[in-house]
């Protein structure tokens, strides 16, 4: 049976924790609004980009001239997984669910006898995956110093990936991130980015296009840019998802702390009452004995 002082201390400490989680929730809510607008503003660009690319690619027959970013290297032996997670924890299952998706993917590929290489964007994913895939992780990209995600970060990562692709280090690249659906729903997603996935549009394929400069030349500049856009978009979606996940995790924590305080206060009051009753009984029985 803890003493009254112990209970008082415990209640005070839970109250302090509750204040912190409450503050974190509010901070996450404020950040979420910004991240969400950024993610939603980036969507039109990425969508137009893939529809333009779709238009362009549907008019092209795959041949030896086709850029390798679109046609692939012709094999799928080496896979690169780009795992985007957060730099910070305390955001519920956000980091671990992305990492789990990537891990399942990696183990499946390895069981098939493929070589797997991993690039981690964000420290948390690295911490989780390091235990199992220490040999496979080839790079950790740290975005902790970045305050406001910009196109430059997407470009930086894309350049690194492209350089490795040019050097023939891998055949297929898959991007792992969490798509932001709403504050309570973030969907861990795997998206293949090399070779580019083209969705068939089929709507305007009958129109004859003029190309300036040549079709192939446009395609060679458009494909790397598409990569950058997709990565940038993943980063933004991730940022919004992270804040959403943190907000609901902290909301839960605050509520749990509230419940705990209620329970502890109840126990505290009960034992105080019991003590008083006990003292009264002692006095009364003492008086009766006389």
């Amino acid at each position: 049976m803890p003493s009254l002082k112990d209970l008082r201390n415990r209640i005070a400490s839970v109250k302090a924790t509750q204040k912190i989680t409450k503050a974190m929730q509010m901070v996450a809510a404020a950040k979420l609004r910004r991240a969400q607008t950024a993610a939603e503003a980036a969507r039109p660009y990425a969508e137009r980009m893939s529809s333009v690319l779709g238009n362009l690619a549907s008019g092209i027959t795959v041949g030896p001239e086709t850029p390798r970013l679109l046609a692939g290297t012709g094999s799928d032996r080496v896979h690169l997984l780009i795992v985007c997670t957060a730099e910070r924890g305390l955001c519920g299952a956000f980091n671990s669910s992305i990492a789990r998706l990537a891990r399942d993917h990696a183990t499946r590929l390895m069981a098939e006898g493929k070589t797997v290489k991993i690039i981690c964007v964000g420290k948390k994913g690295y911490d989780i995956l390091r235990r199992q895939f220490a040999q496979q992780i080839i790079e950790l990209i740290d975005l902790r110093s970045v305050r406001q995600l910009g196109f430059e970060q997407g470009d930086m990562i894309a350049q690194k990936v492209l350089a490795r692709f040019e050097a023939g280090e891998f055949d297929v690249a898959t991007l792992f991130y969490s798509r932001f659906r709403s504050v309570i729903a973030q969907i861990p997603t795997a998206q293949q980015i090399i070779p580019a996935q083209i969705e068939a549009t089929g709507t305007s394929s009958d129109a004859v296009y003029d190309y300036e400069p040549e079709e192939g030349e446009i395609l060679t500049t458009l494909l790397p840019r598409n990569l950058t856009v997709q990565i940038f978009r993943a980063l933004l979606e991730n940022a919004a998802s992270e804040q959403g996940a943190r907000m609901s995790a902290m909301d839960n924590a605050t509520r749990n702390a509230g419940e705990m305080i209620k329970k502890q206060t109840m126990t505290y009051n009960r034992s105080r009452q019991a003590m008083i009753t006990k003292e009264l009984i002692e006095i009364i029985s003492g008086a009766e004995a006389l």
Binding site: A41, P44, N55, L56, Y209, Y211, P213
Partner: protein
């Protein structure tokens, strides 16, 4: 005058969406004006000013750096890698852009990329002169 639908999107936001009379694009092969009923065309863009005209004699200028324009029967879509409306431009932003372009020029050895970076620097300098900084 016939109008057509025009959209200008950069990775960060949608800068313009609506009906316009004419748009002048800084295409890689030379500036081109797009009017309603233009043939379906896809073109790459270089650094330069894009001019939007909604009413005759009234243009809005936006500095774009690289990107693509897609003209089809639904209208014109410009995907700009970077887009800055002229009214938001300041000397610091332009100086920063020029510095970046110069760095891109120094960083590459490919003739094509070198040429592109060189023309970007020239365009940005011109823009700076045009805005009287």
């Amino acid at each position: 005058m016939a109008t057509f639908n025009f959209e200008l999107v950069s990775p960060e936001r949608v800068l313009f969406s609506g009906d316009v009379d004419a748009v002048v694009l800084p295409a890689t092969e030379g500036d081109m004006t797009v009017l309603a009923g233009h043939a379906p065309t896809m073109t790459a863009l270089k650094t330069g000013f894009l001019v939007i005209t909604n009413t005759p004699g009234n243009g809005r200028r936006i500095l774009v750096r690289g990107g693509f324009a897609d003209i089809n029967q639904n209208g014109l879509t410009v995907l700009a890698e970077r887009a800055l409306p002229a009214e938001e431009l300041t000397q610091e932003i332009l100086d920063h852009e020029i510095l970046q372009a110069e760095m891109a020029y120094d960083a590459t050895n490919e003739p094509a990329a070198k040429h592109a970076a060189e023309s970007a620097v020239a365009q940005l300098r011109e823009a700076k002169a045009a805005l009287n900084f």
